[in-house]
C-alpha cells in the first residue's frame, strides 16, 4: 500500500494525536548522515552544502522529517548559541570521526561559582574566567561573529532547498536547553546534584532566571531558520535530560515547573515544542502529562530515550504525541531482523489511535549499520499502516 499523506501531513497528524496513513518514522540521523556521506565531523559542522548532499544521498533511510544538523552543530551549545558557547565552555572538537578523532566532547568545570553573583552581574562575568582556559583568544572576531549571527542563515537556505527537492520537512527550527541541562555544563553534574539537595530554592530561582533567555534565543533561531515558511522550522527542540536518576520529588519541584513555563511561553508565541528527553522518564510520566494543560492540541511532542514506551502510551496517549525509542546498541550491534522485531513491538505498543512516531533513542549512533537504519524505516511502512 502506498503513502497517501505528505511527510509533513503525516508528522502533523502524529503531533495532533490523530491517525495518519501510517506511523511516521523519524530517527535523528545527523552524525550518521554525515558518516554515510563520507564527511568528516569538521565538514558536516562547517560546510552545510556538503551536509545537504549527504542528506540527499541518504534518502533511503531518512524518514518523515530530517534533523537540520544546525542544531547538532549546537549540540550541546557548541556552535549554536554559538560564538558564545565556544567562548564560555570547554569544548573539544575533533576534525575526524573515531578512530582518528572523536565526537565533540565537553569538559565540565565549575564555571559558575555563585548563583546570586551571576544573576546580579550576568554571564558576561565568566567570559574570561581563568578557570576556562579554552584558548578563546585564538578565535578571530570574524569567526565569532559568523557563528553567532550568520551560520544559522546559511543553514536555513540549505534546508529550504532540501525541502523543495524532497518535500521532507525539518524536525526543528530552534533549539533550547532546560536550565538544569545548561547547569550541568556551567556548574558540573556532581556540583549541581549537591546544589539540588543543599540549596534547591536557589537552583529553582536561577533556573527561572536562565529560562527567559533560552525561550527568546530559541524563538529567534526558529524564525531565522524559516518558521512559517519552511515546514518544521516552527518547532522548538527543547532538550531535557538533567542529572540522571533525579527522584520524583526533586523532579517535580525543580524540573517540571520550569519546563512548563518555557513550553507555555513558546506556544503563546506560536511555536510548537519538541521535547527531547534523555534518560528514563518512566517515574515522571504523570508530571510530563501536565505539559499540555491549558494548551491547544498538537503543540507538544515528547521524544523519549530510555522510557518505557508502553507505559508512556498508557499515561500520555490521546493527550501528547510520543516518539522513540529503538536502542542505540541495537542500531550498532544488532541485525536488521532484530531491529525489525523491536520496531514491530514498539508499533504494537504505541501506535493505536495515532500520536506515535517511530524513532531512535536519542541520536542514531554515527556507527550504526546502514542496513539497520533502513530496516527501521521499512518497519514503519510494513507494520505501521492504519
Amino acid at each position: 500500500m502506498s503513502d497517501t499523506m505528505t511527510h509533513y501531513e503525516r508528522m502533523r497528524a502524529a503531533w495532533n494525536c490523530e491517525v495518519p496513513d501510517r506511523v511516521p518514522y523519524m530517527p535523528m540521523t545527523v552524525y550518521f548522515v554525515a558518516r554515510q556521506g563520507g564527511l568528516t565531523i569538521k565538514e558536516f559542522i562547517t560546510e552545510p552544502e556538503k551536509f545537504l548532499k549527504a542528506a540527499l544521498d541518504g534518502l533511503d533511510f531518512i524518514g518523515d522529517a530530517q534533523h537540520p544538523a544546525l542544531n547538532t552543530a549546537d549540540h550541546m551549545w557548541m556552535l549554536g548559541h554559538a560564538g558564545w558557547d565556544m567562548t564560555t565552555l570547554d569544548w573539544r572538537i575533533w576534525d575526524e570521526f573515531p578512530p582518528h578523532g572523536n565526537l565533540p566532547s565537553i569538559y565540565e568545570k565549575v564555571l559558575i561559582q555563585d548563583y546570586d553573583d551571576v544573576m546580579e552581574r550576568g554571564f558576561s562575568t565568566i567570559l574570561f574566567s581563568t578557570a576556562l582556559e579554552n584558548n578563546i583568544h585564538e578565535r578571530s572576531i570574524d569567526d565569532f561573529l559568523y557563528y553567532q549571527f550568520e551560520h544559522t542563515k546559511v543553514w536555513s537556505s540549505v534546508w529550504r532547498r532540501f525541502y523543495d527537492e524532497t518535500g521532507i520537512p525539518i524536525l526543528i527550527g530552534g533549539r533550547a536547553e532546560h536550565p538544569l541541562d545548561l547547569l550541568q555544563s556551567y556548574r558540573g553534574i556532581s556540583q549541581l546534584v549537591t546544589d539540588m539537595y543543599t540549596m534547591p530554592d536557589k537552583v529553582l530561582e536561577f533556573s527561572y532566571w536562565l529560562a527567559d533567555y533560552e525561550v527568546m534565543q530559541a524563538s529567534r533561531e526558529a524564525v531565522t531558520m524559516g518558521a512559517g515558511e519552511l515546514p518544521g522550522a516552527e518547532n522548538i527542540f527543547f532538550y531535557n535530560g538533567a542529572p540522571p536518576g533525579m527522584p520524583p520529588d526533586l523532579y517535580a519541584k525543580l524540573y517540571i515547573p520550569v519546563a512548563k513555563k518555557m513550553i507555555d511561553a513558546w506556544v503563546a508565541r506560536g511555536f510548537n515544542v519538541w521535547c527531547h528527553f534523555d534518560n528514563d522518564q518512566t517515574p515522571h510520566l504523570e508530571g510530563l502529562a501536565g505539559f499540555v494543560d491549558g494548551l491547544p492540541k498538537g503543540r507538544v511532542l515528547l521524544d523519549l530515550e530510555k522510557t518505557d514506551m508502553k507505559k508512556a502510551k498508557e499515561v500520555l496517549g490521546g493527550k501528547i504525541a510520543i516518539c522513540g525509542n529503538v536502542p542505540s546498541t541495537l542500531m550498532v550491534y544488532g541485525t536488521p531482523e532484530e531491529v525489525d522485531a523491536y520496531c514491530k513491538k514498539l508499533i504494537e505498543d504505541c501506535a493505536a489511535g495515532g500520536g506515535y512516531i517511530l524513532g531512535a533513542e536519542c541520536e542514531t549512533p554515527w556507527d550504526s549499520k546502514r542496513e539497520n537504519v533502513v530496516a527501521m524505516k521499512q518497519a514503519a511502512e510494513k507494520y505501521g499502516r492504519y
Partner: protein
C-alpha cells in the same frame, strides 16, 4: 489550490509572535549583564566601560 503544507504554513504565520528586537535585546542583556542590563542598553555604546567596572578585584583577566 493550496497544498496541506502551504495551508499549515499560513496558519503558523498567522499565530507567530516572534520576539521583537527590543524584547530580544532586553532579555539578552539581562542574561549577559544581570541587574546592570538596563544601564548597559541605555548608555550604549559607552556602556562598554561598565564591563570593566563590573569585574571584581582579582578576577580580571589581566590580573594574572
Amino acid at each position: 489550490m493550496a497544498t496541506f503544507d502551504e495551508r499549515v504554513m499560513e496558519e503558523v504565520r498567522g499565530r507567530l509572535r516572534p520576539p521583537s528586537d527590543d524584547e530580544y535585546n532586553l532579555v539578552t542583556a539581562r542574561w549577559l549583564f544581570g541587574t546592570k542590563a538596563e544601564k548597559m542598553l541605555r548608555y550604549a555604546p559607552f556602556s562598554f566601560v561598565l564591563t570593566k567596572l563590573m569585574w571584581r578585584k582579582g578576577e580580571e583577566p589581566w590580573a594574572k
